[in-house]
Amino acid sequence: MSAPPKEANVVVIGAGIVGNCMAYQLALHGWKDIVLLDKGPLPNPGGSTGHASNFIFLVDHSKEMTDFTLDSVRQYEELGVFTRSGGIEVARTTERVQELKRRLASSRSWGIESELLSPDQVKELVPYVAADVILGGFHTPGVGVVDSLRAGTLMREKAQELGALTVVAGTEIVGIDVDGGHARGVRTREGDIRAETVVIACGIWSPRIARMAGASIPLTPAVHQMISVGPVPLFATTVGEIEYPIVRDMDTNMYERQHGGDLEVGSYAHRPILLDPDEIPSIEEAALSPTELPFTQEDFDLQMEQALELVPDILGDERVGIRYAINGLLSLTPDGAPILGETPEVKGLWSAAAIWIKEAPGIARTVAEWMTDGTPEIDPHGSDIARFYDHQRTAAHVRSRSAEGFNKTYGIVHPMEQWSSNRDVRLSPFNARERELGAVFFEAAGWERPYWYGSNEELLGEFGERVMPRDGEWESRWWSPVINAEHLAMRDHAGLVDLSAFTIFDVTGPGAPAFLQRVAVAQMDVPVGRVVYTSLLNAAGGIRADLTIMRLRPDAFRVVTGGHSGMVDRKWLIDHLPADGSAQLHDATSAWCTVGVWGPRARDVVGSVTDDDVSNEGFPFATCRPVTLGTVRALASRISYVGELGWEIYAPIEQGARLWDLLWEAGRPHGLVPVGIGAYAVTGRLEKSYRAHGNELDLEHDLVEAGMARPSVKDEDFVGRDAYLKQRSQEPIRRLCTLTVDDPTSSTGVKRYMMGREPIITGDGAPVLDAKGRRSYVTSAGSGPSLGAHLLMSYLPSEIATPGRKLAVEYFGERYPVTVAVAGSTPVFDPENARMKG
């Protein structure tokens, strides 16, 4: 420990598990003059690391989080601080038994050894569990515990051995210097440090520290209650920390974990108890530590009874006392994911926050790679700090969503499950009309988007079994056969789709063409009025974004991207803007509403309300131009994500209702129906084998694997070009395929439909692995009503990525036969794209 130096290459603030991992990983990645600061003492400065229960369960439904965790375990094992104990998630309800089958499927998708156990088998491994209160268990032998304080110490030492690290403890940050939008250093009580790079790894204090620089890290401190009981007679002979598998009592949101002679019982079941980051006690004020607040017994009473039911032999023993009980503080975020990456507000200021012990080393490696050359191996897009919209950074949003998410920590969370708090934040001008039509709204980036329309229920009779009705309860949740009816009606006639959740950027200025040429894979030197669908790559050739760009004027382009990735794409684009100011980016999302009109009758509909030429010759595919629809001057773009003839129409937001009414009236005689996002983003897309960013497209896949490599590569340089050329020069070891489910009938005669993330296996149940050992899993799944088949997308090893190849998919513990329909990007529906280009 020492006084702060005057200068550093990077200052890491916070010496909990995250800060220690960051300092170590930066040192491994060649950084020198790293300073690690904390206001508290070492090795336990008083943050959440100091009271963490330190166990690591491996399986999460999110691949990103699982990858972080697996990498973390590898690192902890290398340091010799990981003790394998095994872990069992137990089920008390039949719903949970089903969920455990889903957990098993996820473990197979991500390549983790695990198995389902009967109650007696659970008891064999954990003799103190009451087998009669459970229905089964999900056992992962690779689960274990880690000494996170020791890990931190070892990592600091290793970074110091590399001659890269100065550790400064007991030194409080009082400010962060920012100049010209860039971090320039930190101010401490013991002196200032000049540094162009600053990492905030301050856990629950992160919002406070970020605010010093004018940046925001939208998390909230929240209470997690934990008690420790002992001495447990059964544990008297245990050598070391743990002998019995950790038990997660999923249905009561609790865990029971041996810790030497004690049993720790923790809960995520109590009411959400959130604190303001400014309400955290100081080190001096805190009785134990700032993150170990006084236990509130009444919040734990029910949990104690429930824990007693599961573990009566230990907790019912009068000799076993409650020796420690805390309201421990941890970080919650509005969407449950960590907050990683460079802040959009301040260059050089990085966040590594809302991270648990189980994932800290893997995340630190990822962030260090990102900081070093911008090419992390694990794609952190779900955790990118840039993902938040302004409204998602407000205290009200953070509190309401974090509170809602807290009790889902061990919950059975449906992949389509919607948030109930803080809704109706962003409403399109069509919203009133949509409500009249009985729209069922799902949220995207704060926008309320109709997922289907109640008014279309009348179509169900018309299409009968073609809507592929679902009898499985799970896949019927957050779903309606009306989605498929809308799909069919659109393919038969025409559909009207609210696309106002698009994020729209206008890029202008004399440097705009060169700027976009430099970030886009596609040729951007196109005539005015062309629409270009393109990927953006990072330097390693990973897929950073997937969007469309319209050339409106010689020096003006409109970039349209999805709401989910809008803010991340915005930061990427801004970061690459020319330094000379010759191109500007303006976020025009709040200026334009968007409606899609698609289907064989779309030309009739649009043609009836405009005098402009909308013929195929007059308005060819992949072009855009201003059109006048009644009194509305709009921009129309002839592209489609559903494979039909038609346009995206962009209008001033205040004229949106007028535009909707105009198209609605004009469309009715042609059979136009309102179509929700369920048909737009799932069924229509999958039938056309269109890829979605975040599902098929991410940094871990390349354009060749995705089947999106174009016939030639433009001569102009662009980000990722070298890597892309290299990718093209080799045969891909995996290829993205579209598969059809041959027979969705389960053993009990129910038709079951996969939702995505399920493992692809061989007909006899063996995992499908590519040459690098990566498993194949379903990246997207949904109905193909026009094909009469359930559709799946998956990256398959190239040697089996051939049409007609028979495989299987595992769903709720059963195996369903599937066939590769298409390898590559040829659509399964209308492979010639005749409908769209007609």
Partner: protein, 254 residues
């Protein structure tokens, strides 16, 4: 053996204390009873375990003091009485009068009393008064600072530590004893104990306030003590200085 043990709810002050205008700021504090009182509770539980009978925990304080009663119930005390105040500070005289009243009333109802236990002093005001005043009011013998206790044949043998020896008192029961930390090692409550405590009824009595002693006007914090760390040296060279200091503070013979 009928035992009543009295406790007082106080802020648990392991951290730095801050004051609001006229109170201790308890925003970050939990509440507890003094270590002496914890030992008195443990002693009461053990006495009933050894001799049979029943135990009662009693406190005078705000409604929230029920938490401290439940803590005692969780350790094995049988019943609980709350002399519920509106949260204002009661001086030692008023407190002693209210407790005397309550204990007398119990005896008039025919409830037995063999031992009335207090902590040696409360953790916050440290008056050392309430136990003695209650004994006087009830005309019962009183031994303070008790660190060892035996009960036999209707008499209590209570010991106080004096220097390196013991003072031994024999008193008839019923008697009042103020217990000092060290008499026992209090148990941690078990989970079943906690659950039983949660379900128990607490008898609530509104006491009459008759203040007569000194009253608290305001609180102020004493000047902060210097918490200087002195490094005596490193390696074997530091040893003589360490020995010197150990002698100075009396943990090593001169």
């Amino acid at each position: 053996m009928e035992v009543v043990v009295c406790v007082k709810r106080v802020p648990a002050t392991a951290g730095k204390i801050t004051l609001t205008e006229d109170e201790v700021d308890t925003k970050f504090l939990s509440f507890a009873v003094s270590p002496h009182e914890e030992c008195a509770v443990e002693e009461a539980v053990r006495l009933v375990e050894a001799h049979g009978g029943s135990s009662t925990v009693l406190t005078l304080g705000p409604a929230e003091a029920a938490d401290q009663l439940r803590d005692a119930l969780a350790m094995g005390i049988g019943e609980a009485v709350l002399l519920e105040t509106d949260g204002t500070e009661w001086d030692a005289v008023a407190t002693a009068r209210a407790i005397s009243d309550a204990v007398s009333a119990r005896r008039e109802q025919g409830r037995g009393l063999d031992l009335l236990l207090f902590g040696n002093e409360s953790a916050d005001t440290g008056d050392f008064q309430v136990g003695v005043r209650v004994a006087h009011a009830l005309d019962l013998p009183c031994v303070t600072g008790v660190k060892a206790l035996q009960i036999a044949d209707g008499r209590a043998v209570a010991k106080r530590q004096v220097g390196s020896g013991w003072e031994v008192f024999e008193v008839d029961l019923p008697a009042v004893l103020t217990i000092k930390e060290g008499i026992n090692l209090p148990r941690y409550p078990s989970v079943p104990g906690r659950l039983r405590a949660k379900k128990k009824e607490i008898e609530r009595i509104v006491p009459e306030r008759r203040p007569a002693g000194p009253e608290r006007l305001r609180l102020h914090l004493p000047p902060e003590q210097e918490r200087g760390v002195q490094i005596l040296g490193t390696g074997p060279e530091a040893a003589p200085k360490v020995v010197e200091i150990l002698r100075e503070i009396g943990v090593m013979a001169q």
